[in-house]
């Protein structure tokens, strides 16, 4: 699915050995696993991958996937086949803030293309690229369920809706100022409903 292609990422034994969840992340992972019958913990894979992506720099390296496989007692390829199917998992390093602009019908009807062009100009990158300082990546996304508040973009857990150029400016400034990695699992989500 999608445009994500598994790059020729090399497996690094030393990096793999250093890949360990923090105590807090491990607690979250154990809670997720407890939601399923003990012999069915593979079911925890999708949510655990979200935790792993947030924990290990915003993408899923081969070492990270191998580590997740060991926790869920499944083969690494079972992790990779899932990570490569779903669009939310990054198989290569991304910027700290991944801006995902919805481009499907209602968003398009309301100016999504102009928002994309504007961000491209402001960040001096094209869709699919990351800024040189590693701060922003720009992606386009398919319908994010924000059609009544179009145009919109998602960054980590936050939905930014009814976008205008001014809102985009503010957003970029705010994100650049605090400079931290934005993940889907963030608790300080912002929603505008």
């Amino acid at each position: 699915m999608g445009s994500q292609v598994h790059g020729a990422q090399k497996f690094d034994e030393a990096k793999r050995a250093a890949t360990v969840f923090s105590e807090e992340a491990m607690k979250t992972v154990q809670t997720i696993i407890s939601h399923y019958p003990p012999e069915k913990i593979k079911s925890a894979l999708l949510p655990v991958l979200h935790v792993a992506q947030a924990e290990f720099g915003g993408w899923l390296s081969p070492e990270t996937m191998d580590y997740v496989a060991s926790i869920l007692k499944i083969k690494p390829v079972e992790v990779f086949e899932v990570a490569s199917f779903y669009t939310m998992y990054n198989l290569k390093p991304m910027g700290k803030c991944v801006l995902e602009v919805c481009q499907t019908s209602s968003c398009w009807l309301n100016g999504a293309e102009d928002i994309v062009k504007y961000i491209e100009k402001r960040l001096n990158i094209k869709v699919g690229e990351t800024t040189k300082d590693g701060m922003f990546s720009l992606k386009v996304a398919e319908c994010l369920g924000s059609c009544g508040t179009a145009p919109m973009l998602q960054c980590g857990a936050s939905y930014h809706e009814n976008l205008t150029y001014e809102k985009v400016d503010n957003l970029l400034e705010t994100y650049r100022a605090d400079g931290r990695l934005r993940s889907y699992t963030d608790m300080d989500y912002k929603n505008t409903l």
């Binding site: 699915m1 939310m88 009807l109 102009d114 398919e142 009544g148 179009a150 889907y184 989500y189 409903l193």
Partner: protein
């Protein structure tokens, strides 16, 4: 004002909390069901209510429940489909975000009816923050004894969990959703067996949409017969409609099934008419998969009768002149909209979202996107319209799951009703983006 049963309290401050939800009558259906009703009685009430699946297919919910196999010693599951991804649809998000306990209450009451000791709410990954809201509400429900062991002192115990997805439209298809819930790629399963017999981990499972499960609450509270009095014919009760596009008041509206489409578009109670004084050109009435209709056919059927917001009236005339209620994703387009370009966004969507299992869908969706791209860059020939028609006709009915149809129908309908737009572009070898957005003034707040 139409009657509201699902989101009537959406503007009550803090209605997302258990305390406020309870103060407004919340969890009454659980009390009524667990203390005064047998499980089968609830299924009977749901059957009597005429409730139909609100995710898009419109299959009678009570009948779906009655198919659930009940072998001894095998667990049964209720799975809530909160993978809302159909372009134009955002009602489930609204319901879960505003009134999460309405879904949880429906999960408990429905699980009691089905004899499910465990249920899962599968929420699309992009709605991560919505999952947080639902999880917080579940924690409140556990703390107050609405979930867990021996609910209300009865011998009914129930656990409810949230699982987030990873970003894939196909997981809205119920068997793909189950695969995803099992930690796999979202490839739809070949049916039969249906989930009612072999669903989650091979166990009997009912998969219902968020809105469907939430609707069980008023049905149990008021009785199926009362519920069935709302609506017209086989379209009973209320429906959440996600309204978007070029309308004055986009948003989620709860309607009584049976109001006219014209009323929905133009009355101030709902969409409030078309923006900037423009004329309506076309409507996609039930999410991106359903056939687009031009103004004259969406407001009136081919027989000249007013079109109603019901399953039957919207489908009147078949695909020649009608459409479907679908998920209730209502996208209105004004006179300046390019039907070809809008269709391109749909085609790109389905190409991106095809799981890749079946060749007609995997290849066909890509071909359709590429041909539509030719129209946009001015290299299409008139014969490309026929080619596009030919390809869509070879996808429909030839795939494991309905994504094939979902991709083919919008293409067929756009050609059926707006062929002249395709031909004009092909003839002039130039696509003029009449629907350019600068007129919407994105600079203005």
């Amino acid at each position: 004002m139409g009657r509201k049963l699902l989101i009537h309290n959406d503007h009550v401050p803090n209605i997302h909390t258990l305390e406020v939800y309870r103060a407004h009558g919340g969890y009454a259906s659980v009390e009524k069901a667990l203390k005064t009703m047998q499980p089968d009685q609830i299924t009977d009430e749901v059957k009597t209510s005429g409730l139909r699946g609100r995710g898009g297919a419109g299959f009678p919910t009570g009948m779906k429940w009655s198919f659930l196999a009940k072998p001894e010693g095998v667990p049964r599951y209720l799975v809530c489909n909160a993978d809302e991804s159909e372009p134009g649809t955002f009602k489930d998000r609204y319901l879960m975000e505003k009134i999460p306990h309405a879904l949880i209450e429906g999960m408990i009451t429905s699980s009691y009816a089905l004899g499910a000791k465990t249920s899962y709410i599968y929420i699309r990954g992009e709605y991560f923050y919505v999952a947080r809201i639902v999880e917080a509400a579940i924690a409140e429900a556990y703390a107050a004894g609405w979930l867990g062991k021996n609910i209300l002192g009865t011998d009914f115990s129930h656990d409810c969990y949230v699982q987030v997805g990873g970003g894939a439209y196909i997981c809205g298809e119920e068997t793909a959703l189950l695969e995803s819930l099992e930690g796999k790629r979202g490839n739809p399963r070949i049916k039969p067996p249906f989930p009612a017999v072999a669903g989650l981990w091979g166990c009997p499972t009912v998969v219902n949409n968020v809105e469907t499960i939430a609707a069980v609450v008023p049905i149990v509270n008021m009785g199926g017969e009362e519920y069935a009095k709302i609506g017209v014919g086989k379209s009973t009760g209320t429906k959440l409609i996600s309204a978007s596009g070029h309308i004055n008041k986009p948003g989620v509206y709860e309607i009584e099934l049976g109001i006219t489409v014209e009323d929905f578009i133009y009355s101030d109670e709902y969409c409030g008419g078309i923006r900037n004084g423009k004329k309506l050109k076309a409507v996609v009435a039930g999410g991106s998969s359903v056939p687009i209709l031009p103004t004259e056919l969406i407001l009136k059927t081919a027989k000249g009768e007013p079109r109603l917001m019901t399953y039957e009236s919207l489908a009147d005339g078949g695909f020649q002149t009608g459409t479907m209620l679908g998920s209730g994703g209502f996208i209105a387009m004004d006179e300046d909209t390019s039907i070809v370009k809008n269709l391109f966004t749909f085609a790109r969507f389905y190409h991106h979202e095809s799981c890749g299992q079946c060749s007609p869908c995997r290849e066909g969706t890509g071909w359709m996107e590429k041909i539509l791209q030719k129209f946009l860059n001015g290299t299409a020939n008139e014969s490309d319209v026929e080619l596009l028609w030919d390809i869509q006709s070879k996808i429909e009915g030839k795939t494991i799951c309905p994504l094939g149809e979902a991709a083919a129908w919008p293409v067929a309908a756009a050609i059926r009703h707006f062929k002249h737009e395709f031909l004009e572009i092909a003839k002039n070898k130039k696509f003029v983006d009449i629907s350019h957005y600068d007129r919407l003034n994105l600079v203005r707040a």
